[in-house]
Amino acid sequence: MADVTIYARGGDNILDGITPTGTAPSSTYALSALALMQPAARVRWGASTVSLVFALGSSLRGDVLVIPAHNLDAGTSPTVLTLTNGAGLSLSVPVPADQANGLPATIVLDLVEAEPNPTTRTSNSWTLTITSNSVNVTLGGAIAIFGPQRILDPDIRWGYTVREEAGQVITRNDYLTRYVVNLRTYERSIVASIRTTDLEGVRAWFHENAAGSAPGLLWPQLTGLDAYLGIWEPQFEAVNVEGTEYYDIRLTFTELSKGKPI
């Protein structure tokens, strides 16, 4: 579903806490890191073809796939990444090109649009297959499939701020000379004001973020903005618009760091 802002609460992740099975990573790495929901963590394989199977306790519907950190080859179709499930879903997942700073852009796929049949998107077994990547595979410690899909209404796309901060060590002396060490990490955030009557729904999004420990999703679907797997800043403020049922909610959503370039 294009042209809408999609979001997800932390509790929407059907892969939450599930350590996949499949291709064993290199020694000193563990598949359990993929369940940490920490994009900066890493799992590294000594192979370019990797298969990961997430076995759920029950069949759950998945609507949005998110993989923030990876070193997969960019492409649209077919790609090196395939998502399948036990209900017959089989999708080639587009992989965006890296950002100019060397960090990967987030892989995100609207499964509702790619496979409209909700029955096909409902399964207790989900498999990610990476085939013949150009280099041995490394993934960040966060793979999420959110469901159900949530649409932010009204949209935030008219009037918002995109912020990025680069990780660096900077020393500026009395002559205003700067000595900079580039730590090669970035943090991105979106600041927006939402005017909505759905105070309860937005506040639940904030609450399920669990003070930042259960990251959710914010995906404006605009050119130049990929999906953010991140957290609310810990302050929630909703200001009632006088004489109406609307609230102006200040949203500051910060993407979890992807760590250093892979």
């Binding site: 790495y29 590294r44 580039n182 730590l183």
Partner: protein, 391 residues
């Protein structure tokens, strides 16, 4: 420096004299004066010590004086001295302080001129000097000769008037076997380095006989001057009463190790000999690029002794598995200064120290270990490498 013992003797046979036995335990310097008619004498003691002969001062025909000394002699509890000469007398003075001979002076004066003789000025180069002086004249009696420091006024009103500080006369040799060479011996300890001219005077009318005088000077080892007691600290020093082995209590409340009793008296052992570390990477061509720091903690499990390597970096480092332990998760917050010491205040060896700040929020690794393990004695490495070196 103090006089430990003294003994004196006169010849009864005209050729030699032997002293009574005295205890010279603790003696460091033995000074001997021999007076006779011609000043040529020989001495020996019952322990066989060797004596250094100083000059003989002679005023013929009947006045001769010679000094001898021995530094750090063999000591005993019953030591005698024997001298040979022409109707000799001998005075032996024993002192307790190690030192060294530095100078002598001597003089002779003809009869009929004056009742005063000065042995001559000695100027020491350092303070703390022992002066031993002797006098001999050609009369039947020394006439209670007085030794005094030239420049001082002789005061005969204070008994015994023959001791004029700093000099103390220890013996007067009156007429010796009917011969005319009576004498006297005195000593002084001067804590200064002022010049000294030991002078002898006969204050009463015994005529102006021919006479000789001689002084020997020895430098003494001064006792250390104690430092003043430090000012009392402006704090409550109650903890000082608990100080039993140093290093405890508020600053200024103990006296700097006084009372420290080593609890270990065995060998210190050997300092481990480590190979030099391997050469690290160079930073040439890596301007403006950071290096990643991480710690490697090798925890030794108790009681199994198994070693578990724990790696923590400031950002996860996806290193190859064969590079420095492979994957390093985050959790390292800061690394402080690494300090190496040559030794502690007691000369013991000290380990290098470093402060490392970690967060355990990710996986509780350290808190879980702390349930039944100690980290004391574990090995900690601090390592750094650039991204290029880690790739």
């Amino acid at each position: 420096m103090a006089l430990l013992a003294q003994v004196h003797a006169q010849s009864t046979n005209g050729t030699d004299a032997t002293t009574a036995a005295i205890d010279i335990t603790g003696a460091e310097i033995v000074v001997v004066f021999v007076g006779d008619k011609f000043g040529a004498s020989l001495i020996s003691d019952s322990l066989g010590n060797t004596y250094e002969a100083r000059s003989a001062y002679v005023n013929l025909p009947d006045s001769g004086l010679q000094g001898w000394y021995a530094i750090a002699p063999t000591t005993g509890t019953a030591v005698t001295w024997t001298v040979t000469g022409d109707v000799p007398w001998v005075s032996v003075l024993v002192f307790d302080n190690a030192g060294a001979f530095i100078a002598e002076s001597g003089a002779s004066a003809p009869a009929g001129v004056t009742n005063l003789i000065k042995s001559g000025t000695i100027t020491p180069s350092s303070p703390g000097v022992l002066y031993v002086s002797a006098y001999l004249n050609d009369t039947d009696a020394a006439g209670v000769a007085i030794c005094y420091k030239d420049g001082n006024t002789v005061d005969v009103s204070l008994p015994p008037y023959w001791s004029q500080p700093p000099f103390q006369t220890v013996h007067q040799h009156l007429q010796v076997n009917l011969q005319h060479h009576s004498g006297a011996v005195a000593y002084a300890v001067d804590v200064t380095s002022d010049p000294m001219n030991a002078s002898w005077v006969i204050p009463f009318s015994v005529g102006f006989p021919a006479r000789v005088a001689m002084t020997m000077a020895f430098v003494a080892t001064l006792a250390p001057v104690p430092l003043p007691t430090p000012p009392a600290p402006q704090i409550n020093c109650t903890p000082q009463s608990n100080v039993g082995n140093g290093g405890k209590g508020a600053a200024g409340c103990n006296t700097g190790g006084v009372g420290f009793v080593p609890s270990y008296t065995g060998p210190w052992g050997d300092v481990p000999d480590h190979d030099d570390p391997d050469e690290g990477e160079t930073l040439t061509g890596k301007d403006g690029r950071g290096v990643e720091a991480w710690i490697e903690l090798n925890h030794i499990d108790y009681p199994s002794g198994d070693v578990t390597q724990i790696l923590r970096a400031q950002v996860p480092l996806d290193d190859p598995s064969d590079y420095e332990g492979g994957y390093k998760t985050d959790g390292l917050l800061a690394i402080g200064d690494v300090e190496h010491s040559l030794g502690n205040e007691r000369g013991g060896f000290e380990a290098a120290t470093v402060d490392v700040q970690l967060t355990d929020a990710r996986d509780d690794t350290f808190r879980d270990l702390a349930d039944d393990q100690e980290f004391e004695g574990d090995e900690l490495f601090v390592k750094l490498a650039s991204d290029e070196a880690r790739a």
